[in-house]
């Protein structure tokens, strides 16, 4: 079972991970505003995550950890 963790401390809500995820389970959380004023990314369905790391590869802020 793969999963990712987005670290809100680093996430700037750029959305590059959202576009990169082949199974389209990432979204920006419009309800949350981080310390720095961003809407962070979150995984809306961990179960679908394949651990492909596409999201993490695209993340400019190293906010995503991928586990398998």
């Amino acid at each position: 079972m793969a999963r990712i963790i987005v670290d809100d401390y680093f996430c700037k809500g750029c959305g590059l991970c959202v576009d990169a995820c082949p199974v389209q389970i990432l979204e920006l959380d419009m309800a949350t505003i981080t310390e720095k004023g961003y809407h962070p990314a979150f995984c809306e369905d961990q179960s679908k995550c394949t651990g492909c790391m596409s999201c993490a590869l695209m993340c400019p802020d190293c906010a995503i950890k991928v586990m398998r």
């Binding site: 700037k12 576009d19 990169a20 720095k36 590869l57 991928v66 586990m67 398998r68």
Partner: protein, 277 residues
């Protein structure tokens, strides 16, 4: 975390856990990570000295875990040259933007390359001066609108963009030149491979290596990170085609010097070893 669960992707050690001051979606962050991963994988953080430019990456001195020097605008190649000369066993890289490397620093770039300095240069071509708020860069495309080309870059007065990888490819000191981008996971992987090779070349004493990363500047282009990549793909990649522009090892030489010697085989003074023959 379950017992079998393994972390397969996380922040590399050589990238310090600090929030960068790059804009959301700026590729500088991606490339930083690739450099840091390379440093980790080659196990050279303690031997590496990075040279930061003047440009948005000026603050990268705070982000990389290795020793760092901030160079004057455009002069990173000269600074890196000296650091490498003082500590030939260190790994020295310069990280530069297009304004820094190809405009004010053109002479330093060409000369570090022709000297065949055994260093690694990471070159971020985002077709704009990011740090200063979006002026025309030497790599801004014809008709591209910037703060200082408000009617679009007029090549009749502002001239033509410089294609750095093409330009440097004629120089004998150059070992390896590749142009990559980071707009997709696939391209990120390719970019990583190129960067790693550029570092490995240095360790192997192959010669000067430069990786040109075709990049974006969402903030100053006035586009979202995603649209920036789209614009880049549509406009920059045709102008700056990805690919390997020089690779002396692939050409069958041990290093740049060997390739240079082969090229100049007809020149007697360059080949004293032949005099006796």
């Amino acid at each position: 975390m379950s017992a079998e669960e393994k972390v397969v992707f996380e922040r590399p050690h050589a990238l310090l856990p600090v929030i960068t001051n790059y804009c959301p979606g700026c590729p500088h962050g991606i490339v930083h990570r690739l450099v840091a991963e390379t440093i980790d994988e080659l196990g050279i953080e303690g031997e590496t000295v990075g040279v930061a430019p003047v440009g948005c990456a000026v603050t990268s001195v705070d982000f990389f875990g290795c020793d760092m020097i901030e160079a004057a605008h455009g002069r990173a190649p000269a600074v890196a040259t000296a650091v490498k000369r003082v500590h030939p066993n260190n790994v020295v890289f310069a990280y530069q933007g297009d304004g820094d490397l190809a405009s004010i620093g053109m002479a330093e770039t060409v000369h570090a390359a022709t000297r065949g300095e055994n260093i690694t240069v990471i070159f971020i071509n985002n077709a704009i001066y990011g740090m200063t708020g979006g002026q025309m860069a030497p790599t801004s495309l014809p008709h591209q609108i910037t703060q200082t080309s408000p009617y679009g870059r007029d090549t009749t007065t502002a001239g033509f963009p410089i294609r750095v990888s093409e330009l440097l490819s004629s120089l004998d000191g150059v070992a390896y030149l590749e142009r990559v981008t980071v707009d997709s996971p696939k391209n990120v992987r390719k970019a990583k491979k190129a960067i790693k090779k550029a570092f490995q070349n240095q360790i192997d004493g192959v010669g000067y290596s430069l990786i040109e990363v075709v990049s974006t500047c969402p903030t100053n282009w006035g586009l979202s990170p995603q649209d920036s990549f789209n614009w880049m793909r549509e406009n920059m990649l045709p102008y700056y085609p990805l690919g390997v522009y020089k690779d002396v090892v692939a050409d069958g030489f041990a290093n740049a010097a060997e390739a240079a010697a082969a090229r100049s085989a007809d020149c007697p003074v360059a080949h004293p070893e032949k005099a006796g023959a």
